[in-house]
Symmetry: C2
Subunit: 333 residues, 2 copies
């Protein structure tokens, strides 16, 4: 049974720069019409000017019709004026990651509420705050849950600020976000609907399943699946596809990040089918995110067909998520 | 300040076979007079005859004066008669590892209390039961704690059986073992006195710090340090030194096991010094274990001297624990 859905968006992707960008961009752009591009390039995207240049670099390589949605990184040095300039340049979100918890995040922000004037300006001009919600220095299994009070603080202090908590991994986050007003939403990745902690660390350590936030228990995964398939518009798709060369993963210090772009939509179809919720897939990947960000919906459609699809073992030096595994869905058109 | 201690024993080591044995044996035998050799070779050491042959293989390569203490693996197929034969062949312990929780443990035993007649025979002939205490199928952070009721069951059912719970990693295990009668003791590794979970999984995954049981929290580590330096004869040293080639560690499926033999005694000296307990180091590494196993104490001594010692980055394709780091102690004589 073929299903046809409106062309989807990916509201969280790491496209990198240079050779890596060239490799990974088609994996996203061939499936998703738009993608919210994370600013943790090296050097990071901090200003309107940075974002313009990065956008140009992406567009030079992108297939026709693909639209990168740009972000800048929130730091201690971000000023209200920079928010206004970014807005004028077409940037739609500021991305916050606590120090030390994401790739190239060494200068991440230490104290969210110290950025009062920046958040005020964002609320005023309609700029979204996109948060990697993990408390620094906390055991990785509990870091997300311990961040939730901070999320509540920000949401209550700035009721007009739109906030996305990204790549949630816990039932506690689902509950907190469900209970907050409409200005707060969350993205969910495909891989967090599939993995548990044991897929990362058990009889072996599997670095290609290692990402931030780390996958949690079966119970938490169930809560995420229920949220994603619930039809609640607060929960929408962001892949957090984050490529690293094989050599950076299979190493003495394996970097976090899962390159899910080549498999994400097929995996979502599989999971939604298992939950008998294929009719809700379009809302999750093509509607709720766009509506939260205040964007028009994509034109055109994409067809998912039942077709045994083998995930490549490697793509130009990068091992994709579920490499070598077979999925029951394929993309057409 | 030089300290001289009686030649030490390592009551838990993986020496492997073939080329790997040739590489790692001197790292153990140059420091320790005796070592209890784990039977998870490939194929495993299951009988008196296997143990004799494995012992000969080790002795052919060992420096003069080194004594391998042999074990056989406890399985569903172990019979009381095999215990008697092993005892006659000089085997001193049966090693139990629950299915799936150690290297080459695919055929580990599923049900300890089903081995009633074997445990009875072991108690009768004075064979030690050496247990890898983790409950299969449980999240690695909790698997040891959830095994403790089984340990208690065995200890209470067979009060004359000597039992060593190996490489303990939790305060709960310290407490349980402290509260059980004198027939139950535990080994503690050097690396578990040093690592916490964050050294394995945090901003990066560090496969060379990955072992079973996985390192736990700071609080658990403190409990282990207190037990090791307490002077309680129930707690003695077993390195669990477990070499894997670099390629098996820096891979898509990293094997558990830390090759600590080249650094273990120096690291112990550092940790005991920090606790102002250098006077208790000899009991921990050279006395309590031998006494528990009913062995005479070693002759001769070894000197530890304050000397900046850099751990090699690699030894014949194996990355040792703390590779490239500097310790404040060295070995002489």
């Amino acid at each position: 049974m073929e299903i046809k859905i409106r062309k989807p968006d990916d509201f969280h992707v790491h496209l990198r720069t240079g050779d890596l960008l060239t490799t990974v961009l088609p994996c996203t752009a061939n499936v998703f019409s738009r993608a919210l591009v994370m600013p943790n390039a090296n050097p990071p995207i901090l200003t309107a000017e940075d974002a313009k240049q990065y956008r140009q670099e992406i567009l030079r390589l992108a297939p026709a019709g693909f639209e990168p949605l740009m972000t800048i990184k929130l730091t201690d040095y971000t000023k209200p004026e920079m928010v206004r300039q970014a807005k004028k340049a077409g940037v739609i979100a500021l991305k916050a990651y606590p120090a030390g918890v994401a790739t190239n995040s060494q200068d991440g922000i230490p104290d969210f509420l110290a950025l009062y004037s920046v958040f005020e300006e964002m609320a005023k001009v309609g700029m979204v705050l996109s948060i990697h919600g993990e408390k620094p220095g906390v055991n990785c299994l509990y870091a997300e849950e311990e961040f939730l009070p901070t999320l509540k603080d920000i949401a209550e202090t700035f009721p007009r600020l739109k906030i996305v908590m990204e790549h949630i991994t816990t039932g506690a986050a689902v509950k907190t976000i469900s209970g907050l007003p409409d200005n707060v939403s969350a993205t969910i990745t495909a891989h967090h609907l599939h993995l548990t902690f044991s897929d990362v660390v058990s009889d072996k350590i599997r670095p290609h399943n290692f990402c931030w936030p780390i996958a949690k228990t079966v119970e938490n995964r169930r809560a995420l699946i229920l949220a994603a398939t619930s039809g609640n518009q607060k929960f929408f798709f962001g892949s957090d596809s984050a490529p690293h060369l094989r050599l950076k993963k299979e190493s003495a210090e394996a970097s976090p990040g899962i390159f899910s772009a080549p498999v994400a939509l097929l995996l979502l179809a599989t999971i939604f089918e298992e939950r008998n919720a294929l009719d809700r897939l379009e809302n999750f990947v093509s509607r709720f995110g766009a509506e939260f960000y205040g964007l028009s919906l994509n034109e055109g459609s994409i067809s998912l067909v039942p077709k045994l699809t083998e995930i490549p073992k490697e793509i130009a030096g990068i091992v994709p998520f579920m490499a070598g595994e077979k999925l029951l869905w394929g993309v057409e058109g």
